[in-house]
Amino acid sequence: MELAKIAFFLIFTYFLLACALLLRPFGKPAVSDMDEYFILNAQREAASNNVVASIVFDYRGLDTLGEATVLFAAVSSIVLLFRGAPK
């Protein structure tokens, strides 16, 4: 069992390192139409200087809504977990 764990870990680490070495070079990202559109049109459409803020709250606002829901669910489950704990 221990040997299988070690073998799995070594194979997985080898896979990760091989992927890291074979990945596209750092500093030359794949050209993406979406990112160019965001950079060129964020000031005109969302009137925001911060392109990341315009993506987070305007273009992909549904992501932010889901993420706020995740945070709310975590908080309410933590409060629920410690509900019966003695004061």
Binding site: A47, N50, V52, D58, F82, A85
Partner: protein
Amino acid sequence: MNGSSVIVKVVSLAIILPALTFGLYIIAHGHLTPGGGFQGGAIIASALAIFLVAFAKQASKTLRKNLLSALECLALLGFIGLSFLGLGKSFFFNFLANSGLIFGQAVPFGPNPGFINTAGVIPLMNFFVGLEVSCALTIIVLTMLKAGGDKK
């Protein structure tokens, strides 16, 4: 839960107010500079966590869990309601941008010195999300501080 020594109390008093101000600055300038609702909310929550650790007795009276959770729910409801207000065009539509109303100034393309009265609903959403995140993290710290420890 007895609070800390005098040194910790004095130093935390010197830290808390600048940290709260810095968090509010980060939230208010979220559409112009790096930062935004999450980051400013995390800064405010860490200032409140310092307050909780240093002044445990006074903090349990002023920072109550019911008030914080009510504020968090109100902030989340404001966020969702603000996104529903743009429903004439689409969900999460930025209906205030370039409209001439509050935060409605148009921005010229290219680098500029930054105008605070821009970006439509983004500053309002930053405010709501900052309130929500700070209240959520403070509730987490408060709950784990009260219920944690060796009770066995």
